[in-house]
Symmetry: C2
Subunit: 426 residues, 2 copies
Amino acid sequence: MSATQIKNAVASGSLSCEAVARDCLERISARDGTLNAFAFVDPDLVLKQAKELDSLGERGALHGVPIGVKDVIITSDMPTGMGSPIFENYLSFEDAACVSQLRTAGALIIGKTVTCEFAGPAPSSTLNPHILSRTPGGSSSGSAAAVADFMVPLALGTQTGGSVVRPSSFCGIVGFKPSFGLINTHGVKPAAASLDTVGVMGRCVEDIELTFRVLTGAEPLAVDSEERPIRIGLCRTYAWTGADACSREAVEDAARRLASAGFHIEELDLPASSNDLPVTREIINDYERARAMAWEWKTHRRQISPRLSRALENGLKIPLDRYLDALKRVALCRVEASRLFDTVDLLLTPSANGEALSGLEDTGDHRFQSIWTQLRTPSIHLPTSSGPTGMPVGIQLVGRYQEDLKLLAIAQRVLSLLGSGPCVAV
Amino acid sequence: MSATQIKNAVASGSLSCEAVARDCLERISARDGTLNAFAFVDPDLVLKQAKELDSLGERGALHGVPIGVKDVIITSDMPTGMGSPIFENYLSFEDAACVSQLRTAGALIIGKTVTCEFAGPAPSSTLNPHILSRTPGGSSSGSAAAVADFMVPLALGTQTGGSVVRPSSFCGIVGFKPSFGLINTHGVKPAAASLDTVGVMGRCVEDIELTFRVLTGAEPLAVDSEERPIRIGLCRTYAWTGADACSREAVEDAARRLASAGFHIEELDLPASSNDLPVTREIINDYERARAMAWEWKTHRRQISPRLSRALENGLKIPLDRYLDALKRVALCRVEASRLFDTVDLLLTPSANGEALSGLEDTGDHRFQSIWTQLRTPSIHLPTSSGPTGMPVGIQLVGRYQEDLKLLAIAQRVLSLLGSGPCVAV
C-alpha cells in the first residue's frame, strides 16, 4: 500500500496503525536478514508507538504511515550510528527537526536505515533487492532498499552528491531531492553543508508530495488552468557520453513517449560554466566536510575509513580562496542555468550512469546527480524502464529552483504515462 | 593581553598556558558573580587542559589562547544549556566543528558564555560591565560581557539578526560577523539556518583575523601594493532616522576623521529593494525557527518562553509560498546591494540604535545589524566613541560578500586611526 492509501485507511478507521506496523515489521523480519536495509529496528518500540497513534483522537496528515529514517538523521528513541564505529550506539537527546515534523503529522518511524559511513563514498553492507550481488547505490542505501523491497512505503535520505537519486535509480523507486534549503537539516549529520539536502524516497510521487508538504508547510498546488502543453527540455549534459546505452535510451524513450502524449520537447544544453561542476564539487565537498568533521578527525581519526580520510586530508589542504573561487563558479552556473527554465517547465536528463553496478565495493558515481545538487534545483528520479540485465533504470526530471511543487505535479503525470501506474510497483 | 600577545608569549616560552588560564579564572572568579557572563566554567577542567597544552611539543596558531564559547555551541566536556531549561545539564557527545577547530589550533576553551534562550529575543541574566543596570545586548550577551570585562580575550558568538554586532556595540568590543557560510555551523543550535552565522568577538581586529584564519584556512591577506586611497561608502540605511544622535554622530565623526586621514568617502544609498528587509527578516526567521525547533515545540512546549513561543506559532502558520517569496526578495536585494561595492571597498554604517538600553528586559533591536545578516555580507563593529552617558558606541564596517579578509585588513587600520590603538581597551 502507498502512504496515501495507508493514511486514508487509517483516517477512515478501516485500518489501525498497529496493523500497518505489524505488516511492515513482518516484512522486515522476513527480508532484512538478507538485505541489511535497516541499521536499527525495535519492534516493541514501534508497536508501542503505533498503539499510541491509534489512541489519539486527532489524525495527522501522515497518520500511521511507516517511514524509515537514514541513519545520519538523529532520533531520540533509537540510536543513530552514522554508518561509523565512532557513533556506535549513539543516542541523541533530540529528534532531528524533520523527524519531529513527521511525528507531529502522525508518522510512525519504523527504524533507522543503513547509511554509508557519514553519508560518504565508502560502501555500506546493504544489498540490492533486485539482484543481491549488486550495489543498491549510496549513500542512502538502506532507505532505497527498504522502499524497493516493500518494507516501508517511504524513507528519508540525504543527498550531497547523488545519495538520494542514484540509489533510487539503482533500486527502481521514486527519489526526490528538493531545492536546497527547503527541508530543515537540523539533526542531520552534515557532509557539505552548502549542498546537503534531505530527500524523500517512495514508490509513488503522490506519497512524496504529501511528505514534502508536511515538512515545508506547502499548500497543495492549484491545478494549472492553462491548457498549453507542458514544455520539457531534453538536457543530455556533459556526462551523456559516459552513460550506458540503457540510461541514454531511457531518456530518449521518455522523450519520444512524452512527445506522443502531447508534451512539447526541445533540446537544451547546459551553459558552458557547467563544465566546472565536476571540479567545484570536489573542492566544495572536501573543504566543507573537513571542517564539519573536525571533531571526528581530531579525536577518532583511526576509526575513519581510508577513503573518507583521503577526502578530509584533501579538504584540510584547500585554502579559503580556492574554496571561495569554487563557490563563485557554481553561483555563476546557477544564474546561467536558471535561464534554461525561461522556455521550459522541466528538464529531462539521465538519473545515473546505468544499471546498478555488480559488487558492493562501489556505490556508483555521482556525475548525473551532483550537477543538480550543486545547482540547488529540485530533482526527482522516476523508474520508467529496465536495463540489459533486467535491473531498473529511469529518468531524472529537474525543476526550477524553489519550484518543487510544480516539478512534483508534472512528475506525477509523467510517471503515470511512462511507468506502470500512478503508484508504480517495482 | 590580546590573543596575539598570549599566543606569541606562549610560543616563545615566556608564558605558560597554565599561567594564562589561572589569570582568566581569577578574573572570572572575581567578577562573574556580578556579571553572569558565564553559564559554565570548571576551573579544574580548564587547568587540566592548560597543562596538557603546555606539555605538547607542537604549538598551534592559537596555542594557549583562552576562548569563551556561546552556550548554544556544543562542547563534549562542558554542558550546553542553550539558555533554556530544556537543555539544562545537557552534555553533547561531540564538540561543535568550530570548537574542535579551535582546540586543534591549541586554543583553551575556558567555559560557556551565557546566551539568550536559543539565541532568541528573550533576555538573559548577564549584566553590562560598563553600567550594571544596562543590557549587554543579546543574544551573545555573555560573550560580549566576558570579553569587555577582560575575562577572556576572545569569544565565539552567533548572529541570526544582530546577536554579535549589537552586544559588541553595547559592551564596547570588536565584534565580527563573517560572510554567511564561511565558519562551519555544525554543532551550533540553529535559529534560522539560512541566516545563522558564527561570529568572533574580541578586543582587537588582529585577534579576530587570527581566529577567522584558523577556522577557514585563509592565508594572510597579501598587502595591497596599490597606493590608491581606500574608498568608503557612507551608508545611512533606511533605519538612520530611528537611531539616537550618538550613533549617527559616531558614524559622521568617523567619516570626517577618515576623510582627514586620506580615505575617500562617498555617500551611498541601499537599493530600494532593501526596504523589504524588515519584513523578510521576520518571515524567514520565524518560518525557519519553527521548523528547526520542531522537537522542542512537540515535546517541551511549556518550557519555551512566551516570547519565543509567539515566534514559533507565527512561523508554523507561514505557508511555503510566502517564505519562498521572502527568500526571493532578499536574493534580489543581495544582487542589487553587491553593486555598491563596485565603487567602494567598504560601507560605513551605524552598528546599533545607540547606547545600551537601561534594564535587562530588552536586548535591543536588530534593525542596523539584520540588514547585513540578510545580505550575508561580512560586517564588523568597532568601538570608536561614547554616548551621552559615557557608554560605548561605535561604527559598523561592511565588506563585500566573501571578501572578509579585506574587511578585516581595513578595519584594523580604521580602528587604529579612530580607536585608542591597535588593540583597544574598553
